[in-house]
Symmetry: C2
Subunit: 483 residues, 2 copies
């Protein structure tokens, strides 16, 4: 049997933090005189109370001895349970969502997806807007710490490749997470502050600047306006967003090293190079297509090309310009870009660049082995040969990712939606991008038009994608619980 | 440099056989008094002449010492070149196709795809109809011999698993192929004759029975009527088609063993079991969906369910009833079924059941390894552990199969077709099924509505799918030609 007490203790601490944070939207509503601050205060009390109870129930256990199986349960339970409590204000505040919709909105925030069921954002009280921003922000830093401290040890989809980056190979999860978290959280706060200042400097109100900075660095993409970044009609803000979305897409451990003076590591990193090369390549294609299709020209075409590729590949999901009518092949290009995603250990979703690199090398090696049956062709990453188990993990992950995408799309389609809606909903949830395509969930629509069972399915898809599939799926294996 | 002489000699023999066979449609046209027998006679002379010249050019070489690289070139060249000559009658006979369309029709025949650009089949001369049937029939037996004799040695997509089935592990290709071919060709002829008799017994004309028997055992699917099997409005014929399409989908080596008295091998075969289980499962789903959707009931619903699942999963592509309006989830189910395909060493296309089994085992093993990092979990097939190289080959194949499907679909979409047309064209060509979906290439339409560049792309897709991707793709590697 799994000892649930350390899990309860940690969930308790996380809930207490979440509850305390609810006082911020309460304060914002008091200051702006909008909304209903009492909702947040009440939610805060409930959340903090449950958190405290859980902590009390589990505190006698040896939390620092958390083992791998407990770590699996903790990870999925964190996102699952925190979303339930983070949903409370969405039900009680003026958004008045059902629990299904509120849970979706909270999960969308904490997984940095940014798909929303709330419309009329421009006229909503500031409290609810800043609450959404905080969910992104917590989700973003949570996923970085998870990806650096936990997933490599859990050997999820080839992430064992990144175990070498830590000197500590022990199975004790918490000490390592705590040590890594410090540097990362510092960088994360620093980048967010820099982003907020830049946005304000470019003309956003202080409130919009703070909320969008939190949505940008977390590559979450919740905006305070229905028109998203397009609301500001400002090339300067779009360029700033491009820069900071890219910042959120790079491995945060590298920032820690750059701050320690080792700048070369950022440039030399295989994944960063591949990611930025793909961004440039796809942006060029999109630029040429816009000019060819007479949609835009010159600086505007280039800006929109880079913005769209970066917003989708970083899986932020901000929208500066509605690209739905650009037609093929731009729409298909954007579809592919969502699959790819950005770098490991960033806040971005998708399959991640390192897996794309390993997939490419594995296929090339396979072809060579067919020609030269007796040759030895190791799969390489960053010039170095990598183990067969990493290759098998990456191939399994890639296959399962595509299969999950297809299954979720098929189920949504079977529930009565058109193919574009079904499959764009599937990938936008799974890759944690946010906006979909098509008449129901396109860039100018939102997810409020979907029935409850689809909303639940997509909430689950966001969780699956954010936790890299296997982390959640192992919980469904009977043998996981048997030991 | 590759020695092309043995390749030329074998291609020459194959062309001579193809040319000689053209006398059959000539004879049929003479007997029926329809069509233009002189077209076939002229095509026969040209084809046989070129074949003889090639044989003369290469005959001095040691054909029996064909090495692996020559085998690769020969395989792709066989289908590519024979399609060009098989296309001649389609240009000159009353079908009067352009070379592009004629090549597509010939490639569609020789790859047992059965997608057609010819309409008004019911009123075409018998010669052109029997010519199409012969292309299927040659393509079908060709692919079985290839899959049993050559692909395992070329280690294509995990096919090395089937090397153990032969006692001869030498790299000499031809002796083994010749030895295997004898038993297989015998079974193939026997099954075709049995199928033709059954069809005639169920009420088809002798001509229709022979043509459809050749299209059934080869899982090709060319019919002599625009309405395909639906033309006959005969449940008996539909049941017969189900039985013989299944016959074409099972591993032909097993028939050889069954004929030698070892019947248990057929029942005990892992791939056969999985394939038949999937057929039953999907047929049940389709049955329930028809009853639920009030489309059909009782025996008719069950017959149509089994027929549709078998025609698509065996990649035959016969049509008994237009299922396009059945809506989700049936249409998506049928889409998946096309991907899966049937057994290795049969005439069917798709990914093949043994790969599905290995994929499933590899994913389960990957999940178990995540839970028990120190456990040993070999991937199993048929209860026996299989090598890491086979698993990596299968995973690479599966990923490349999905990627090729997406790329071809995306290109067709970018050329201006809707998503359903684009992606159904991609999978129906790649899996060698035949009919597509949607307004342009749906079951009641044909491929004549597509522009030339799409037709060429789909011809290439049929070749790629039929030869299991890697066999063709290695030819594009510079290092293949360098040695
Ligand atoms: K996002
Ligand atoms: K077919």
């Amino acid at each position: 049997m799994i000892d649930f007490r350390p899990i309860a203790a940690i969930l308790g601490v996380l809930l207490a933090i979440l509850g305390t944070t609810m006082m911020i939207p309460a304060l914002v509503d008091v200051v702006t005189g909008q909304g209903d601050y009492i909702v947040y205060a009440a939610s805060a009390v409930i959340t903090a109370f449950v958190g405290l109870s859980l902590w009390l129930a589990g505190r006698t256990s040896e939390v620092e001895k958390l083992d791998l199986r407990q770590a699996f349960v903790l990870t999925t339970a964190s996102w699952g349970l925190l979303s339930a409590f983070a949903a409370i204000p969405f039900m009680w505040a003026d958004t008045a969502l059902t629990f299904t919709d509120a849970y979706f909105e909270a999960m969308s925030g904490l997984t940095t997806t940014g798909a929303t069921v709330i419309s009329g954002l421009d006229h909503r009280p500031a409290g609810v807007l800043i609450w959404r921003a905080f969910l992104h922000w917590y989700g973003g830093v949570g996923i970085i710490v998870l990806a650096m401290a936990l997933l490599p040890m859990l050997r999820i989809g080839g992430m064992q490749l990144f175990r070498a980056e830590s000197s500590d190979k022990s199975e004790k999860v918490l000490p390592r997470a705590a040590q890594l978290a410090k540097g990362i959280v510092g960088t994360y706060v620093l980048l967010t502050v820099a982003c907020a200042f830049t946005y304000a400097f470019c003309g956003m109100s202080v409130f919009d600047a703070v909320a969008h900075a939190m949505a940008t660095i977390s590559t979450g993409g919740f905006s305070t306006h229905d028109a998203s970044i397009g609301y500001f009609h400002s090339p300067a803000i779009e360029y700033a967003a491009i820069f900071f979305m890219l910042s959120g897409s790079l491995p945060f451990v590298l920032y820690v090293r750059v701050l320690a003076g080792d700048f070369s590591r950022l440039i030399a990193n295989t994944e960063v190079r591949l990611f930025l090369s793909l961004v440039i390549l796809f942006a060029l294609v999109s630029f040429v297509e816009q000019v060819r299709g007479n949609i835009a020209h010159g600086e505007a075409a280039m800006r929109h090309a880079v913005f769209n590729v970066v917003t989708l590949m970083s899986t932020t999901g901000f929208i500066a310009v509605d690209y739905t009518d650009w037609g093929p092949p731009t729409d298909v290009l954007y579809f592919i870009v969502m699959f790819l995603g950005a770098c490991t250990g960033s806040t971005a979703g998708g399959m991640k660049s390192f897996r794309i690199a390993i997939l490419g090398s594995a296929l090339a090696q396979h072809l060579r082995r067919i020609i030269y049956p007796n040759g030895v062709f190791p799969v390489r990453y960053g010039g170095k040969p990598i183990g067969d188990d990493v290759v098998a993990s990456v191939l399994s992950f890639a296959f399962l990712y595509l299969a999950t995408f297809l299954v979720i799309g098929i189920v949504v389609n079977a529930l009565g939606f058109d193919l574009i809606t079904s499959f764009s909903a599937s990938i936008t949830a799974l890759a944690n991008v946010g906006p979909g395509l098509g008449p129901v969930i396109g860039p100018s629509q939102n997810f409020a038009g979907l029935p409850d069972h689809v909303i639940w399915l997509l909430s689950f898809a966001m969780l699956l994608g954010r936790l890299e599939l296997f982390t959640v799926l192992v919980l469904f294996l009977p043998s996981f619980w048997r030991r």
